[in-house]
């Protein structure tokens, strides 16, 4: 049974969980009608902030991660505020530009980021946790696990809890006054405003939440990988994240979760898929938009799945 705790599976599992966070970071702004192509940039901000703080100032990882996510969130507010004058495609292009600018800064600010060589020796969550529990006199062998099994298991569980908390947060928020405001803005911004909704506030709120989540995912990514470089946060990453959400279903949060799981596992399982992965992605986007623009999962399908009558816009 303990053989099942295989570092390889746990590693893939951890990446899936991080990708879920990223997909949700696109989903949240989208739920108020804002398409952000800057998630790779925000992810990079989170990753670099946390990595630099923990490397240079020996900050505990969890503080670093928090700082990274917050900085990304704050940048989200700073960018979100003026971007509100932009709607639809303009916002998408502006955020795409922002992501590129952030990456170029990582490449050029060599004294801080070591440029394209990247940051090595980023403290890894698993090992720090192991040292922590060892401090309490606990050894993995006490429960019959090897050190690295234990480390990967811890990381996986930790990420799982974070993802669970995030989804819980988003769902609760959605089924409330805040969530209703998001979706009303998404459906008809002008009408939403004349219903007394402060568009500015709610748009920045959802945009910044997306940025925060992307930053969080980025910071966790840095501490799982142990090494980051600017090429981890390129335009292709942003598109990949977008595809998680759009493929899985952009109208329901479970769609992001499904998209991230399915599309992360697919190339692992099917080698030939890996070879043609991007070609498949491309074709998939075109077909999806034409046939099923809301993605694989939507509220109707979910309803049918569970035998629940489609009585609620609740998951929206």
């Amino acid at each position: 049974m303990l053989d099942f705790i295989n570092p390889y599976y746990l590693q893939i599992g951890s990446f899936i969980l991080i990708n879920i966070l990223l997909a949700v970071s696109v989903y949240v702004p989208l739920s108020s009608g804002q398409l952000s192509l800057g998630s790779a940039g925000f992810m990079g901000i989170g990753a670099y902030t946390s990595a630099l703080l923990t490397i240079n100032f020996d900050l505990p990882i969890f503080l670093g991660v928090l700082a990274g996510a917050c900085l990304a969130g704050i940048l989200g507010i700073i960018v979100g505020l003026p971007s509100l004058r932009l709607t639809g495609v303009y916002l998408a292009i502006a955020t795409l530009g922002l992501g590129e600018v952030i990456r170029v800064i990582f490449v050029n600010w060599e004294s801080l980021t070591r440029g394209s060589i990247g940051l090595t020796g980023v403290p890894q969550i698993g090992r720090e946790l192991l040292n922590l529990v060892r401090g309490f006199g606990f050894e993995p062998s006490m429960i019959g696990l090897k050190n690295n099994q234990f480390v990967f298991l811890l990381v996986f569980i930790l990420l799982f809890l974070i993802v669970l908390a995030t989804i819980w947060f988003v769902v609760r928020q959605q089924n409330s006054r805040v969530g209703r405001s998001f979706s009303s803005i998404q459906m008809d911004e002008k009408a939403a405003e004349s219903m007394g909704i402060n568009i500015m506030y709610f748009k920045v709120l959802s945009f910044a939440q997306g940025a925060f989540l992307a930053g969080l995912a980025g910071a966790l990514f840095a501490h799982v990988m142990g090494y980051i470089s600017p090429s981890d946060f390129s335009y292709h990453r942003a598109v990949e994240i977008l595809i998680f959400t759009v493929f899985g279903g952009s109208e329901v949060i479970i769609g992001s979760v499904f998209g991230a799981i399915f599309l992360t596992l697919m190339p692992e399982l099917l080698r030939f898929v890996s070879e043609y992965r991007y070609i498949i992605y491309g074709i998939m986007l075109v077909i999806l938009m034409a046939v099923r623009p809301q993605g694989i999962l939507d509220i109707h399908l979910l309803g049918r799945f569970k035998g629940i009558k489609r009585s609620k816009g609740g998951m929206r």
Binding site: G33, L35, P82, S83, R85, L86, T87, G88, V89, Y90, A92, I93, A94, L96, G97, L98, E100, V101, V104, I105, V107, N108, Y235, V239, L242, V246, Y276, Y278, I279, Y281, G282, I283, M284, L285, V286, L288, M289, A290, V291, P293
Partner: protein
Amino acid sequence: MLLEQLINGITLGSIYAIVALGFTLVFGVLGIINMAHGEIFMVGAFVGVMTTGVLGWPLWLAFAASIVVTSILGYLLERMTLRPLRGKKGVSHLAPLISTIGVSILLENLSHHIFGAGNKPFRTEFAEISIEIGQVTVYIVQIVIFAISIILMIGLSIWLSKTKAGKALRATAENLETASILGVDTKKIITLTVIIASAMGGIAGILVGMAFNSVSPQMGLAIGLKGLAIIILGGMGNVKGAMVGGLLLGLSETFLVAYGDSGYRDAIAFIMIILILLLRPQGIFGSKMAEGR
């Protein structure tokens, strides 16, 4: 040095401008940002490489081949990815954006598989001809590129304002429904627009191949993103804006390299658009407010 850099900047800027014209035409009529335009441009360049390099065709034939292939691509793009989304209930305005991103990924990676990842040389005798003006060497290709971009801009403006098809096009851009009531065959006009825009991408592709002797699958993304920045800079759907924006970007990139830090070259385009979006969202020549379409 100043003069040489000026020539470099104008050459680069002219190419940017031609790419941006394609973007702006599609946006002007359809209100769609065609994210695949850069990749169509790249395919055009590869057609040039293949016809001149492998098949040994003369340059004018390569131009023709490239225009034909990119026009077909444009037609397919409109037919398979844009038309199914048009007028469909419940399709958000983001759908065409995402759909064309799909096409761009597809074309880029297809080219990887077909042509390989590396740079392909583009050898034509024509690209070797140069003239000396004082200390400065000017290649005929550079002059041709500038001339073509100007001709395309003027031609497009005249075509839009003077000809019947152009007027129909503008009517379509104004309002799809009204135009169709007025008896404009909007379907035909839209298809025509996408085809013309794509063909211009093909022309730009060959020009880049000739000027810089390098064609690779990644160049579509790099130049496509610049073209995008330019139409925001110049004003969406504005022909003059695309031209001026292109030259402006080409010159500022060149002069940043010449007198500043070449590492930030790729960032200028985006810093420019972020600034312009904040200060004057309608672009330099735009008149309409940046409403989401």
